[in-house]
Symmetry: C2
Subunit: 344 residues, 2 copies
């Protein structure tokens, strides 16, 4: 099942795959010249008419340079590998990620997302290393270890950039300070006089890397003010929210940070159906500043999260690739602030 039927190399559908030798023959030049022209090597002087002839021959034969062969020769590629995972991402992150890809493209990098679901630590690093990326930017949930970084560097990666709270030896660290999101929400609730504050912790897998730090941030803010934080596990389902609302008065909470706007919408519906008045009895704050929060009644207060520009991050990657001896950079990608509406 997993082995394809064998065919002779570089053949497919019964037709020969054109090689650079074919291009050289048709253009009447050496293979080296073909390579120089098609890889845009500016170090070697080749006349414009010759360049033109090579390009036309390549076009006519349908020849495409082999990125793999090129990186074998050069010892490195222009590939930036970004492990992709199954973390559910919101529109904020999507937009950031698109900008980041665009910016890398403009700096002449090839961006490849590598499906890494189910791979762990060194196993993942080894799989990525097989593609010989020049940089790895790990924004997802696969945790890199020191050994994983070693594997990548040994296979030619010049920069390894990780996202996370733990510092990994030999990497540049990006930080998304999720803790600030919980802190900002809780500080706002405290300012409006709330003292017993619930913090929604989604039970869906993959969200722990966001929800854990947000809860910690809420605790920090509450501790400073001598107030109380109560973690509230919640599944993204009506039944789960109804069950939570049913024991709301037992919990005696006067404010809740609901993880994000979608969980806030879910919880607010159940609270309202259970006769709990928002914001009079309980204030509700979401996060992400989605349009849907403005469509709710009462309109939802939220934490607006601004991410660093994709362009800035792309430049950081490029710098790390070019200056391998530069000291590790640490950069916070997020900026959080409260948007007060009617629910708090």
């Amino acid at each position: 099942m997993s082995q394809p039927t064998e065919q002779s190399p570089e053949r497919s559908s019964g037709r020969a795959v054109p090689t650079s030798a074919d291009v050289a023959r048709l253009a009447g030049v050496s293979r080296a010249t073909v390579s120089y022209v098609l890889n845009n090597t500016s170090a070697v002087r080749i006349s414009e008419p010759t360049r033109q002839r090579v390009r036309e021959a390549a076009e006519e034969l349908g020849y495409v340079p082999h990125a793999a062969a090129r990186s074998l020769r050069a010892g490195h590629s222009r590939m930036v590998l970004i492990p992709s995972s199954h973390v559910p991402v919101g529109p904020l992150y999507s937009r950031f990620f698109n900008d980041f890809q665009w910016a890398l493209r403009r700096l002449d990098y090839t961006v490849v997302q590598y499906g890494s679901v189910g791979l762990e630590a060194e196993e993942a690093a080894r799989a990525w290393a097989e593609l010989r990326p020049v940089a790895v930017v790990s924004l997802g949930e696969v945790e890199l270890t020191g050994q994983g970084v070693e594997i990548l560097k040994r296979s030619g990666a010049r920069a390894v950039i990780t996202l996370g709270t733990q510092r990994v030896e030999g990497t540049h660290a990006l930080v998304m300070d999720q803790g600030r999101v919980g802190e900002v929400a809780t500080e706002h609730l405290l300012e409006t006089g709330r003292r017993r504050i619930g913090v929604v912790v989604p039970e869906e897998p993959g969200l722990g890397m966001f929800s854990g730090p947000r809860l910690d941030g809420a605790r920090r803010a509450a501790e400073r003010a001598g107030a109380t934080v109560v973690p509230l596990p919640l599944r993204y389902e009506e039944e789960s929210a109804d069950a939570l609302a049913a024991r709301w008065r037992e919990l005696g909470l006067d404010g809740v940070f609901a993880y994000n706007d979608e969980y806030a919408m879910l919880l607010m519906r159940s609270l309202q159906d259970a006769g709990i008045s928002v914001p009079d009895e309980t204030a509700v704050v979401g996060a992400d500043d989605l349009l849907l929060g403005r469509l709710l009644r009462p309109r939802l207060s939220t934490v607006r999260i601004d991410m660093v520009l994709g362009r800035e991050l792309a430049e950081l990657v490029d710098h790390a690739v070019r200056e391998t001896d530069a000291p590790p950079v640490s950069r916070d990608l997020l900026d959080s602030r409260i948007v007060r509406r009617e629910s708090s």
Copy 2:
């Protein structure tokens, strides 16, 4: 800016990258044996102790086989390349895509998403071809042309699978019948006695590949019943929805298919604020069956869209790779049905 500082090949951070020759030396075997063992070639008989020795030597040196070198030797890779684009995708598609990646991984393929924003037709095909994928599955918005397919096949791709309504020569065609979504919604509105039906057409870029066919499907259903369809351009913004609601009574619509649940939530809010009763004066139907639709009052009617299993699609890819002479396959990925709640 775009050229990294030159270093000698296969060196990074001043340390030599281990090669298969180093592994062979340490294990006391030939390079060919190293290659056979680490690439799991079962055709050649090598004793288990020898295999063990090679694996240990590779481990000790931190050697990782070079996917590029392997594919150069074999003439093809196990890479399935999936162009990634900036189309905003919903949770339904995300889940499908994760399943698809998992299933390909289990069939021993490497899944690589290639950032293709801004690339057009042949330019895109050429960029993908440089990585020598064994299959290309184009689910996004980059339109492949016959010439693009030719470029890919010449570079060794055994299967090219496209998503779209246009048939492209030499590809297997997947169809997402978005037209059915509009048809199902409109048939439902007609059954409840509505005769002048608005169809929301989002103005956001990148959604035309969904909204166009949905509008066409709505028109087909209305035509059969002698009813009227009115396209309603809408931006995903409160101002845009309020403006549409303000001229709602001029339009004289008694039903609306609002593209999806999120646009339905936006429009329903503005209609209610403008004093238009849902569903008495106007029925509203969304699509996607998101949780938020059940949280609205009235609860939102919607079109539930079920996608083919990722596993099925992975098997189709595997089949196409192994049987290059098999006739092109065409497969519909979607199944749509109405979920009636209170808004219609």
